[in-house]
């Protein structure tokens, strides 16, 4: 995780951090997309659009890399907020 993400994510628990690290370590894109997407949507729900878009971007990138169908939806979420082309 980036320092930025850690700072932005003060409420995240140790177990969630461990899940992120495990997925990164395993190169498990599907799991990374799942985790980042959930983190992004929860931040957006709580009104923190920048933090939400940070996590959704992470999810989007890993979905693009793996050619997952989620990428269209994630792109839409980001584009709707002016964060993607």
């Amino acid at each position: 995780m980036t320092r930025f993400a850690a700072e932005k994510d003060e409420g995240r628990g140790v177990s969630e951090d461990a899940a992120f690290l495990a997925a990164h370590s395993a190169g498990d894109n599907r799991r990374l997309v799942e985790l980042y997407r959930a983190a992004g949507l929860s931040r957006i729900d709580s009104g923190d659009i920048d933090a939400g878009c940070f996590f959704l971007t992470q999810a989007y990138v890993f979905s693009l890399e793996a050619g997952l169908r989620d990428s269209a939806e994630l792109h839409g979420l980001l584009a709707a907020r002016g964060r993607e082309e």
Binding site: I49, F54, T57, Y60, E65, L68, S71, L78
Partner: protein, 385 residues
């Protein structure tokens, strides 16, 4: 001081070969990299190594990082393997890209078509666009490429005439082999490390003069007088044989022939050095392609791949014959090893003057020297206006 090449341009009966510096000098090696290897159509690998859509293969071509990619439409593209952001090498090892190339540094993502698809956080955290970052201008740099006989060729400079224009003579000569050919599988590829300059492997392949001395086994059925010289200036040179003999197994089994070949191929075979660094051989029942990978003034890796007329040759029932064929070629190429390495050592002889050619037997070798000298001189003049 750059070596003078005037003697190379004389007719073969009077000419001398390329000066020693062309084999042992780092500066001349770099000059040839640009003027010979990058300015023309050079081989960098085989399509069979990236058979499926999304397969990508990094290639270090004389220090230049490239990546060959099998696109969704089945065609092969070659890109500079360098992210347009911070210059990070994009693809570190052969893999299958299911979606996009993701730069491992800041995760800029590129499609198999080279298009820049994502620039995460480029405008700040969570902002993936910026008015000054135009993705359409920042796709991967495409390197001009062409596939012939499964060899992936690139023209790094982008300024060479088209592949078909340069090699039209050979394409016409071998048009009967313009057919699907099937790699024999794992036992039909091998690589040899040669302690010599890449050009010496090219030159050795150009001529049949050495066959009775270096390949006495081959010469027992394919004698020197059964061979003829092949010279297509600016494209390739080599040799042909009128007495190719099919490999047969213990029960007389043979490989299937390529369909529709003319009579002359029933017992004929041809071997060319396609300038600059690809060696090709055609026979009625198999082909081979060799890519010479230059690794320094006196180091070359020779990548050999053998192809057949039908995909069934990959089946188990052909295994023994396939292995015998690969073994036969490997032994022949190994017989050449001490010659090319010996010529490399010989070029440390300070009084060696490039050597004199046989006016009769060395025409194809001289043609290659002449071509290299022509390209080097053209490089010294700079690009045409």
């Amino acid at each position: 001081m750059k070596p003078i090449l005037d003697e190379v341009f004389r007719p073969v009966r009077l000419a001398r070969g390329l000066p020693n510096e062309h084999y042992i000098d780092d500066l001349v090696y770099e000059e040839e990299r640009d003027a010979v290897l990058f300015a023309t159509w050079a081989g960098i690998g085989f399509g069979k190594d990236i058979p499926d859509a999304g397969d990508v293969m990094p290639v270090d071509f004389v220090g230049m990082p490239l990546v060959a990619a099998r696109r969704e439409d089945g065609a092969i593209s070659v890109y500079q393997n360098t992210c347009r952001h911070r210059g990070m090498v994009l693809v570190q090892e052969k893999t299958n890209v299911r979606g996009t190339f993701r730069c491992p540094y800041h995760s800029w993502c590129y499609g198999l078509d080279g298009r820049l698809r994502a620039t995460p956080h480029v405008g700040g955290p969570g902002h993936n666009v910026h008015a000054d970052i135009d993705r359409d201008e920042l796709g991967l740099i495409a390197i001009r490429s062409h596939v012939f006989m499964d060899v992936i060729f690139v023209n790094v400079s982008g300024r060479a005439p088209g592949f078909a224009e340069v090699h039209g003579g050979l394409l016409e000569r071998w048009r009967e082999f313009d057919l699907p050919a099937y790699h024999g599988g794992g036992d039909s590829s091998f690589a040899l490390d040669l302690a010599c300059n890449w050009k010496l492997a090219v030159e050795n392949n150009c001529e049949s003069y050495h066959l009775p001395w270096i390949h006495p086994g081959l010469n027992s059925y394919s004698r020197l007088e059964d061979h003829y010289n092949l010279e297509l200036p600016g494209s390739c040179s080599g040799q042909g044989s009128r007495v190719y003999r099919r490999l047969a197994g213990e029960k007389g089994e043979t490989f299937p022939d390529f369909p529709g070949l003319g009579e002359r191929w029933a017992t004929g075979s041809e071997y060319v050095s396609l300038y600059p660094n690809v060696l090709l051989g055609v026979h009625c029942d198999h082909l081979f392609a060799i890519v010479l990978e230059p690794l320094g003034t006196s180091r070359t890796r020779e990548h050999v791949s053998i192809y057949y007329a039908e995909p069934t040759v990959r089946n188990a029932r052909y295994r023994t014959l396939r292995e015998a064929n690969a073994r036969q070629w490997r032994e022949i190429f190994l017989e050449d090893l001490f010659v090319v390495e010996g010529m490399q050592k010989g070029r440390r002889g300070q009084f060696f003057d490039g050597g004199r050619f046989s006016p009769v037997m060395d025409g194809p070798t001289h043609l290659f020297h002449h071509w290299v000298a022509t390209m080097v001189e053209a490089g010294r003049r700079g690009p045409a206006e």
